[in-house]
Symmetry: C2
Subunit: 381 residues, 2 copies
């Protein structure tokens, strides 16, 4: 069965403690180069990427990886969670320091930190923990990890690219199936449930989003899926993704129930052309904003610029949404191994929307799409 | 069917915009009493409780409710998400202020804030957003919302208590079924999947955890469920919960596969007695730590004090884990309407663990359990 195939034959070589050690060393070196005394990494994608440790939940109990100049990595964990942390693949590459309920975790961590240092802290660290350190060590200062080292996780190595390609292929397989299900007469949430089931069937361990935006709902780019019953004549935006082997998928196609109008077809063509232009702009050395500009120019020239109301793309890796961002003003250069979405759209309020999205990776001489299903408007039933 | 019964007959009256308005007014008043210029509330349980708005995901894009003294509530949202926010039940009780990609969201929000004010900020607000405000408004200062107003959500009203009781009853129904499934010869993850399915069948919209700790795994209180195959003779800790109608369940029972040894029975009896003592200590005016002390004394007296390695309980509401905490040093008094777990345990490393847990609510003259399944050791197959 497809399921088993995706789940087993495709299973990549697991990352090793050495892989995580190398990532932590690189992160510490980049932090030092940026003038930081170290990095404070909270549960979430940064910690996952650096250590392979994924606590069940981020809570008010402090879990924090300290990567400080001139010392080995230390993972501060609640005593209750120490056995789980010790089983993380990256655990052999770090020292665990646990603390018990009732103790002050900031006091436990403080001796690891330069009392006058400036630290990069995970974007998604809890504010209460940052406040805890600011109070315990008033001489320290902080900057968000993404502001300090925005490109830390942006360039993927071969092992990561293989995972992203597998996730993209699985999402594509889900799309090939979803266009065969009935749309007309069913609620958006029904089609969204089908999409989630398909993503799981094709190997996703986690479904992050399954947007089904029919008719006027498609004109709200962040609409997920609601109770609206899809009708004949609807344009339907599908945007879905999640994680497979720890790496993300994210793709959009816009389909139509029955025959489209001329205007619907024209708008779809414009978005498809814009998406192609965005992808064609991907090459090493181009600026992130060049991808946005290339896609946007097509839509502007067609007279729909006012209806393309978001940036063109975002990075993807251990999350489905991370730097680099393809947006006006982002002048950092594209580097081979970067992976991000190219997803222009046109949204006509109260009427319909169109979005087409592929994940693209920067190659030595251009870009390569990790989503390859037909971008022409599929007609569904 | 049971499913439909729990999902439909039991559906509570929805909260209204007026309910949310009243909560926001109370929160603003409590903030002012605490000497704060206002509260900054990020996506998560605080925002859900105050407004009914649950963004799909917390991201690097700022979403923030500003409750400031002398002004109406303002919800700052990314423009893309404004249509979703406008549909939140609490939206009529607040003003939306949106910002578009590329703008500085802190600059957009700053005019709402006293430039020299001290603000309470949601515990789980992203550190990058707190840093954004600290930089934009260097004269402001911050304290975590739980430190400033730890009891803001702790006392539940009748509508909330009905939801918590329904969640507890559904978890109990799941327990009554899980003891009928085969344990011996199956992996912990298999039984955990059964538990998750049962919680959903009895109406849970979200499953937060399904701990199945068999044999030595039961001695790690934060073990979830692993590949270990459960054997005849195993003690098995079950601890499970999630959300139903937006409010949490959380209950633990420890069962045994086949006949227990005398020691296993003795330890189970001690924990059961400790749990009863903890529950018996619940009454208005008692300190939170009294509940911990009452349960702990039983285990200490039996000589197992060194093996009860966590606090006795935590609050529950729109999350399954929140203040108040039943822990030594927490001297705040219990108030009618508070809801929290009473869950002592004994953990014998490398051998087995026992934990028994009920949610208890403080009544006018004592406490009432929201979980009522038998606490005697069930023998499973």
């Amino acid at each position: 069965m497809d399921t088993d195939k995706h789940l087993t034959d495709g299973a990549p070589e697991p990352f090793t403690a050495d892989d995580y050690r190398a990532r932590m060393e690189r992160a510490a070196a980049e932090a030092a180069d940026a003038g930081l005394a170290g990095l404070l990494v909270a549960p979430g994608p940064d910690l996952d990427w650096l250590t392979g440790y994924r606590p069940t939940a981020a809570t008010e109990r402090l879990t924090l990886l300290v990567l400080a100049a001139g010392q080995d990595p230390v993972l501060v964990v609640p005593a209750l969670e120490a056995p789980d942390a010790a089983r993380a693949v990256g655990a052999p590459a770090l020292t665990l320091r646990d603390w018990t309920d009732g103790k002050d975790p900031y006091a436990v961590t403080a001796p690891l930190l330069d009392v006058a240092g400036r630290f990069g802290v995970s974007d998604n660290a809890w504010a209460m923990h940052l406040l805890g350190f600011q109070k315990a060590l008033p001489g320290t200062s902080y900057v968000s990890l993404t502001e300090a080292l925005p490109m830390l996780r942006a360039v993927k190595d071969d092992a990561e690219l293989r995972r992203l390609a597998a996730a993209g292929a699985a999402a594509d397989a889900a799309y090939e199936e979803i266009v065969k299900v009935p749309f007309a007469g069913r609620r958006e949430t029904d089609v969204a449930a089908d999409l989630a089931e398909l993503l799981r069937r094709f190997g996703h361990s986690r479904v992050d989003f399954t947007v089904v935006g029919s008719g006027p709902n498609g004109a709200n780019p962040h609409h997920e899926a609601g109770e609206r019953v899809i009708e004949d004549g609807d344009m339907v935006v599908l945007d879905f993704g999640g994680l497979l082997h720890g790496y993300g998928s994210d793709t959009s196609r816009t389909v139509h129930v029955g025959e489209p109008t001329e205007e619907e077809r024209r708008v779809h063509d414009i978005v498809r052309e814009a998406q192609a232009a965005g992808c064609a702009a991907v090459r090493p050395g181009a600026a992130c904003q060049d991808v946005d500009r290339a896609a946007r120019a097509v839509i502007d020239d067609a007279g729909y610029g006012a209806y393309f109301i978001h940036r063109t793309g975002h990075g993807i890796g251990v999350t489905t949404h991370e730097p680099p961002y393809m947006i006006e003003g982002e002048q950092r250069p594209l580097v081979p191994g970067m992976c991000f979405s190219v997803e222009p759209g046109v949204y006509l309020p109260g009427r319909f929307g169109v979005r087409i999205e592929d994940i693209v990776t920067v190659t030595a001489d251009g870009g390569r799409r990790l989503n390859t299903t037909a971008r022409e408007m599929a007609i569904v039933g």
